[in-house]
């Protein structure tokens, strides 16, 4: 593995196009991440079509750069305009904005950047340390275990989605149903096509993701006129005082550890990681009352956790083929376009791909640090761009990007349909990400259940094999737990 990684690293270093794509990915990622209303997932979804024309290595360099940089970008608007660019930056604003109002905007941005870098490196280390171990365990898995782990992943993803767990599960079921549209790969019978020829190839994952994450957000953004933003424009001192910075190292390391491990749990989420990290530091602090008043501890703790999640979320993706979050679900879509389905076999048959993921993430973190240090004040200016221009550009990217998947206007219609559904789901408070998780995991789940039933003749294989049984029980527990919570809450209130 080490040799492959070193080889991939050298290969990237002598590829100016690849390096250039990494730099472009970081710049665009920071800018989109910084814009309120454009989440990291949306950034990745709308930029994904640009990677279609690239080879796999370069597309990974570009997409990982967008992925990692957009997560950091969210902190810029959190600090300067008190609106988190991405949900992961939601806690950063609590101390970031007050600190900026004290005239320390530049230092706040630098703290966020340094914490993000250290967090990113921690996540990366966890990825290269843990992924081979998980993959080697997963190599002994057979169809029942794969079916069970897919079910477990889907349950967890629905459970941890924002809003109602019950509606999250319904969303997951809808996603699984959508994944069955088109020819059944085993029997060649067409399902739910209703005589519409383009449906026989199924509903594309990329147009669906672009619709749900991109179009739905644009539709929501144009409901009302844009907010009048009170931006802090004065960015004077960039480098914080050394004495202050050096006492923040332990906080940064604790935050990174929390983020990396929380990120590795499928769907546990950056929002959970940043909240945990912030709460932990507040609890440990001698002056907890100072949190929320603009202290660097309140920026470093969540930002380190936020970025270390990136590496963590990639672990279930490359080892089990289960998206760690909505962004890795979109990444899986990109890999499918390139003819790759991630899973434990990656470490045997596509070691070069795993190596390029490692290298891409590392480079993305380093390039974000360099560009952030020199360009933060310029990136901040993007917040002053007119909203109509940005929203129109995003919508156009969604349209042309969806067309680009198969050069088909039908995919644009599919994207629009998912956009409308996503918008309506947002309106009624139904989480949208589980639909995409269902679409990603659906074929995997169906294939493995059916294969198990053909091989073993009945359902006993799922309960007789210990790993499969344990995963099914865990899935059931995740489904039943919210019900127990309701009963418990009702008992306490009566």
């Amino acid at each position: 593995m080490f040799d492959a990684t070193l080889q991939a690293f050298l290969h990237v270093l002598i590829d100016p196009v690849g390096l250039g794509l990494c730099v472009i990915g970081v710049v665009v990622g920071i800018i989109l991440g910084a814009l309120p209303g454009i989440s990291s997932t949306m950034s990745l979804a709308v930029l994904l079509p640009f990677s279609f024309g690239m080879d796999l290595d370069r597309s990974m360099l570009f997409l990982m750069a967008v992925f990692s940089a957009s997560v950091y970008g969210g902190s810029i608007s959190a600090i300067l305009i008190n609106i988190p660019g991405t949900p992961g930056a939601i806690v950063t604003q609590m101390d970031g904005y007050p600190m900026a109002r004290k005239g320390r905007a530049g230092e706040a941005l630098t703290y966020a950047l340094l914490a993000s870098t250290l967090g990113g490196i921690f996540g990366w280390l966890l990825l290269i340390g843990l992924a081979p171990v998980v993959a080697s365990v997963a190599l002994v898995f057979q169809s029942p275990e794969f079916a069970a782990i897919t079910l477990f992943g889907l349950t967890m993803l629905a459970y941890a989605s924002p809003g109602s767990t019950f509606l999250g599960i319904i969303g997951g079921i809808i996603g699984l149903l959508v994944a069955t549209v088109g020819f059944d790969p085993t029997t060649d019978v067409s399902r739910f096509t209703f005589g519409i020829a383009p449906l026989q190839a199924g509903l594309g994952l990329i147009p669906a993701a672009v619709g749900i994450f991109g179009v739905a957000e644009v539709l929501q953004n144009i409901e009302h006129s844009g907010p009048r933003l009170k931006m802090i424009t004065e960015i004077k001192r960039i480098l914080p005082p050394w004495d202050e910075a050096k006492r923040l190292w332990p906080i940064c390391i604790r935050g990174s550890l929390i983020g990396a491990f929380v990120g590795a749990i499928p769907a546990a989420g950056s929002a959970i990681a940043v909240s945990l990290s912030y709460a932990q530091e507040k609890r440990m602090s001698r002056n907890p009352e100072r949190f929320g008043t603009g202290i660097p501890e309140g920026i470093v703790a969540p930002e380190s956790a936020n970025n270390s999640c990136v590496g963590g979320a990639l672990i279930p993706m490359i080892t089990l083929g289960i998206p760690g979050d909505s962004m890795t679900a979109v990444l899986i879509g990109a890999l499918l376009i390139h003819g790759l389905r991630p899973g434990p076999d990656m470490f045997r048959s596509h070691l070069d791909f795993v190596a390029i993921v490692y290298v891409s993430l590392f480079l993305a973190v380093v390039v974000t640090l360099v560009l952030g240090l020199y360009g933060n004040r310029y990136f901040a200016r993007v917040l002053q761009l007119p909203r109509p221009m940005l929203l129109t550009a995003v919508m156009l990217l969604c349209i042309v990007g969806s067309f680009a998947v198969r050069n088909s206007l039908f995919d644009v219609v599919v994207m629009l349909g998912f956009g409308v559904v996503g918008y309506l789901m947002n309106r009624v408070g139904m989480p949208t990400a589980p639909v995409i998780f269902g679409m990603v995991l659906g074929p995997l789940l169906e294939d493995n259940i059916r294969r198990s039933l053909i091989l073993y003749g009945n359902w006993s294989a799922f309960v007789e094999r210990p790993i499969s049984l344990a995963l099914i029980l865990l899935s059931l527990a995740a489904l039943v737990y919210p019900l127990i919570q309701i009963v418990w809450t009702k008992r306490r209130t009566t």
């Binding site: 079509p49 019950f166 319904i170 929203l391 009624v428 039933l453």
Partner: protein, 183 residues
């Protein structure tokens, strides 16, 4: 690393009850959603039941209808739960529905956007991507600029010119860099 906010209770129990109006809205939401899901489930179940290919015997393989059947059962049960929950909530607040069942004003601009994208798709074969993209961008940039800043000329011009340039850049990037055959 999902961009979520962590787990919450099931529908209808998310968050403390925010008064009769909130409960009425929640009840209406659950009932409406439940009915839509139940209707869709019935329609899809009917399409499976009447499809001879789906009902064939494939030996040891449970067949193409296997997973859709299970999912439709689950979806149906979920829909019924939502309907019952909605009815119970609305009964509790004596069927006091929200003042506006559907906020038409709020949805009017998104509805216009959806219509314009349908128009975009319809016009592309005749006018080509570049012309339609320019038209789409400029009209929307002007519309949104008016929504944001009224009839102020400067922001309107900036958005208009900026959007046209971005549309050209996107067209060129996809056509020249990626090689997508945009007509």
């Amino acid at each position: 690393m999902s961009e979520g906010q962590g787990p919450a209770g099931p529908a209808g129990s998310d968050g403390p009850s925010g008064g009769v109006a909130d409960a009425g809205e929640r009840g209406f939401r659950d009932l409406g959603l439940g009915l839509i899901l139940f209707g869709s489930t019935l329609a899809l179940a009917y399409s499976i039941a009447t499809d001879a290919d789906m009902q064939q015997d494939f030996g040891l393989d449970p067949g193409p209808a296997f997973l859709p059947d299970i999912l439709l059962w689950l979806l149906g049960i979920g829909a019924v739960i939502l309907i019952v929950q909605g009815i119970l909530t609305l009964t509790r607040v004596r069927w006091r529905l929200p003042r506006e069942l559907v906020d038409i004003k709020r949805s009017s601009v998104p509805l216009l956007m959806v219509t314009s994208v349908i128009g975009y798709v319809a016009l592309v074969p005749a006018l080509g991507f570049l012309a339609v993209s320019l038209l789409f961008s400029v009209i929307w940039a002007v519309g949104l600029a008016v929504q944001d800043d009224g009839s102020a000329i400067r922001p309107l011009l900036i958005s208009c010119v900026g959007s046209a340039l971005i549309a050209i850049c996107i067209y060129l990037a996809f056509k020249q860099l990626i090689g997508i055959p945009l007509g």
